[in-house]
Amino acid sequence: MAAAAPEAGIPQPREAADNLTAKDVRDSPDPRDVVFSVRNLWKVFGPKAERIPEDDELTGLSAQELRERTGCTAAVRDVSFDVHKGEVFVVMGLSGSGKSTLVRCLTRLIEPTSGGLDMDGEDVRAMDKTKLRELRRRRAAMVFQHFGLLPHRSVIDNVAYGLEIQGVPRAERRERAAEMVEKVGLAGLENRRPGQLSGGQQQRVGLARALAVDPEVLLFDEPFSALDPLIRRDMQEEVVRLHEDEGRTMVFITHDLAEALRIGDRIALMRDGKIVQLGTPEEIVGSPADEYVRDFVQDVPREQVLTVRRAMRPAEGGETETGAALAPDTLVADAIEAVARSGGAARVMDGKRCLGIVDSTCLLNIVARIDAGEVAA
């Protein structure tokens, strides 16, 4: 049982996710498929903030120099990325890296200082109050670190709150809210007050409130940071499950690398307001863009993130014909088990085609953080 599960079970979602990103990378991205398009976005706090992004001399300064020179803090600096339909886009960074500001800029809860921001091809920064309110009401809903529940309302009324804001009649919004309460596993607690719930339950209310308005995008701002580790894990699985069920686009902010790797299709790693690397979990862990990222991912168990595609070597001679067959996106950890059990090298097979071979040396190199290049040299 334990032996069969990894091969059949775990890689599955990964495959689905990989297909999506692989397609995006290969084809020139279809504009309809981009939900959020962010171009050279800046958010500067402080006096006369708007002059900073335009001034080439100032933009070159480090955060500290900028503060000393101008008294301004650049929370988001020249950030560009696209969020594709149906993906889980994770923005990760330490506290103060600007990630929370960035996600608030997406719905202009914080007004960006400069740059381009489109949602479904519409210019968000050009929207007037009414259009912006519509966007917040129906198209993007947010889940907050500290929940932001209304303490004087019952669970069901909290969940229905977004619909109430939209003007949905009471009976209808209650019905829909009840569905959401059920969906997040809080059935039976409808009439409790948020103060009577545990942190995890409160965040489920927050999630249900966001889901109730059936938004196109869910925005999560460090939703699980305030929770106990065990409950955090439950909630992460809940999010993964929700994403599999509905395929809703998600933008997820976190400072927890394990969390980012667990749920992200793509990860943007932020530092001092800039994105230092943007890629799949495998790219981030396998090929860190700089020292900072390398430090960051140092303690990640690489065999849990990297796939055999990265570990394999070209096949030699008759190796293409024999040995166990593995899918290209099998995790190294799973491949290790397969290789150990079979006692010999395994083939990485894309359908009928053999892409390469993994043997115990290749796999150990991954675990030991030795790059293929180093081995060759």
Binding site: L109, R136, F144, Q145, G148, L150, H152, Y161, G162, I165
Partner: protein, 663 residues
């Protein structure tokens, strides 16, 4: 020197710098040094120009003339000037009509209806126990033959509270939503809350003359600030996370206010209501001096003839009214956050309960009228005035003087007057005027900021300019003496209560009751015990201010970081050492706050003490009102304001400003 190891150098640091250098490093001493230098330059100049001693007459401005003329002008033009005819006249009429209408309604309901209605409402919002308290309280009011005065006070209160809440809530809403308005409102409201009630009497009398409109307006002006203040603070204090979440769902400004900000501020709003009601009651009683009929008037008349029995009979309903109103609103506030299911069966919630209360009240009213009794039946009353007065006579004979060993209460009062109050007053009066200003400046600056020091000094100077330096020094001497007694007793009891859970449990209900009683009421027992004079006024002030000081001290000591206490204990500190070296220093902000509150409360009652022979500024206000010499009263009123401002600023720790910002 440089070769010394870090530990060695740090160990010797206390000895190394000279005493002067250490002194300069202390902020407080540096401030005093600056002041001393300024004084060294200015004092000889002032002395040369105006001489020392009491406030120089060259620097006074006599306002009696202009104020008298203003007063005369207002009296002459009250019926003709457009301002009065088209605005103030209408206001005054509206007040008279609405108070009379409420009074008529209360009479119409009769004693049965009012008692039933109040009891049921208390039951609905605050539970069975408080309903029982309400029932008993109204019955006692009737039994003391105080039904009609109670209704008069209640009518004035109802109108005043509605008006105060409306005004306060509107101001608070404005202050809560607009940063700029809040910045303007905040210091005004803060200051209004420290001013003694007496200061508000004269200006309204000047405009409206003695009568119900003046009484009501004084009450509203006095009672609205807490509502405004707490509304604004509540709205501003709303959890920013919740507000952001609400914004993220696309709420409009109005939706945000109605569904989030106001509900989130419910506790503050109810606390504001509670404070407004208590202050309105306090003022409605005092306003009897400017034409409010009712219980306060009875107390006032009785005090004027030193009829303790009659005063007590009127004071008991006041106290009961205060307790009922305070407990009802406080309990409503506590219930707010509770689970609705805990509040009883579905049938008793929402509009059904209110409809039930209305129907039941109507039924009881009808029953009362059918029985032909709308006013409390005269056969059911108990006259307590005579036995109380007999008891008081007995006290005069047996306790006032000549009690072996301890001496009599009147002896104590006389000693307090001749040994404490007189020397203090003479000392303050003999103090050169610039000396008083310097002391005020130094104290205010060391405790607070240069801003508070400036306000305090200017307020003190204004007293001199107004030409009431002497009576103000007299009042100040009473305040200081009473404050000293209050602080010694308050800190002692507070420290004991902080150390003993049992003592605190015993004290709590006593303090609760004492804190709900209007200032006026405190005059009665002290008059009974100490006759009239300055000492009884000071005693009343002590008793009035004591509960707040005890409570703040206890809470301050209790809130000291337990980790700090624990570490002190783990180092083997004795209880006394822990108290002196850890608890008291860490509780310093609370202790300073206690001093501040103590000063404000003491001043309020010392001023009212003018009614029982306290003399000085309070007496000037009373005389001004009694003889129609508004100029005299107004000048005294302004001096009271200045004195209050000065005392508050002198004792105002910088803490209050900074903590307030987060709230």
């Amino acid at each position: 020197m440089t070769a010394a190891t870090p530990t060695a150098s740090s160990a010797t640091v206390p000895d190394q710098p000279g005493a002067l250098q250490t002194a300069l490093q202390s902020r407080g001493l540096r401030k005093i040094l600056v002041l001393a230098v300024a004084a060294a330059v200015l004092v000889p100049l002032a002395h040369a120009k105006w001489s020392s001693g009491t406030w120089p007459s060259d620097l006074t401005v006599d306002l009696t003339g202009p104020l008298g003329r203003t007063s005369d002008w207002i009296i002459d033009n009250r019926d003709s000037h457009p301002l009065f005819v088209y605005f103030l006249g209408h206001l005054s009429n509206a007040v008279v009509i609405s108070v009379r209408a409420v009074y008529q309604l209360l009479l119409l309901l009769g004693w049965t209806g009012v008692t039933a209605g109040v009891t049921l409402v208390a039951w609905r919002v605050a539970g069975v126990r408080i309903a029982a308290t309400a029932l008993i309280s109204f019955a006692v009011s009737g039994a003391l033959d105080m039904w009609l005065p109670t209704m008069q006070t209640l009518a004035l209160m109802i109108v005043a509270v509605i008006a105060s809440v409306a005004v306060g809530a509107l101001l608070g809403l404005a202050g809560g939503l607009s940063e700029r308005l809040f910045k303007i409102l905040r210091p005004v409201l803060d200051t209004m809350q420290v001013l003694p009630a007496f200061a508000y009497l004269l200006p309204v009398v000047l405009i409206f003359g003695i009568g119900v409109p003046a009484a009501l307006l004084a009450t509203v002006v006095y009672a609205a600030p807490p509502m405004a203040r707490l509304t604004a603070l509540g709205l501003r204090g709303a959890d920013p996370g919740v507000l952001e979440a609400v914004a993220s769902l696309g709420a409009t400004g109005r939706q945000r206010l109605l569904t989030a900000r106001l509900p989130l501020a419910r506790k503050e709003l109810l606390l504001g209501l509670n404070q407004t009601i208590m202050m309105a009651l306090s003022m409605a009683v005092i306003a009897s001096m400017i034409g409010a009929a009712g219980l306060g008037d009875r107390v006032y008349q009785a005090l004027a003839s030193v009829d303790v029995g009659a005063a007590l009979a009127a004071a008991v309903p006041i106290v009961l009214l205060a307790i009922v109103m305070d407990r009802t609103t406080a309990a409503a506030g506590e219930r707010m956050g509770a689970d609705p299911a805990a509040r009883g069966p579905e049938l008793l919630r929402g509009w059904r309960a209110w409809a039930g209360i209305a129907v039941l009240t109507a039924l009881v009213t009808a029953a009362g009228r059918l029985a032909g009794s709308t006013v409390w039946p005269s056969g059911w009353t108990v006259a307590i005035a005579r036995p109380v007065n007999d008891f008081k006579e007995w006290m005069v004979d047996h306790l006032y003087s000549g009690v072996p060993v301890v001496g009599g209460t009147a002896d104590w009062a006389a000693h307090f007057t001749s040994w404490v109050l007189d020397p203090l007053r003479d000392g303050l009066t003999a103090l050169p005027w610039w000396g008083a200003l310097l002391i005020v400046a130094a104290l205010a600056w060391v405790i607070g900021t240069w801003r508070t020091a400036l306000t305090a000094t200017l307020a003190m100077a204004a007293i001199g300019v107004l030409g009431v330096w002497k009576p103000s020094m007299n009042t100040l001497s009473q305040v200081l003496a009473a404050l000293a007694v209050t602080l010694v007793l308050g800190f002692a009891v507070g420290i004991l209560a902080a150390g003993s859970k049992r003592l605190e449990a015993i004290l709590r209900p006593v303090l609760d009751v004492m804190q709900t009683m209007p200032q006026f009421v405190y005059l009665i027992p002290v008059v009974a015990l100490f006759a009239v004079g300055r000492a009884p006024a000071a005693a009343a002030a002590v008793v009035y201010a004591l509960p707040a000081v005890i409570r703040i001290t206890t809470q301050g000591l209790r809130q000291v970081d337990p980790a700090a206490m624990e570490s002190a204990r783990s180092l083997g500190a004795t209880r006394w050492q822990t108290l002196r070296q850890v608890q008291l220093p860490l509780a310093r902000p609370a202790l300073l706050l206690a001093v501040n509150q103590g000063v404000v409360l003491v001043l309020a009652v010392v001023i009212i003490g003018g009614l029982v022979g306290g003399g000085a500024l309070g007496y000037d206000v009373v005389t001004g009102l009694a003889t129609g010499d508004l100029a005299l009263g107004l000048v005294a009123g302004v001096a009271i304001v200045c004195l209050g401002l000065m005392l508050d600023r002198v004792t105002q720790p910088t803490q209050r400003r900074t903590t307030g910002k987060g709230a």
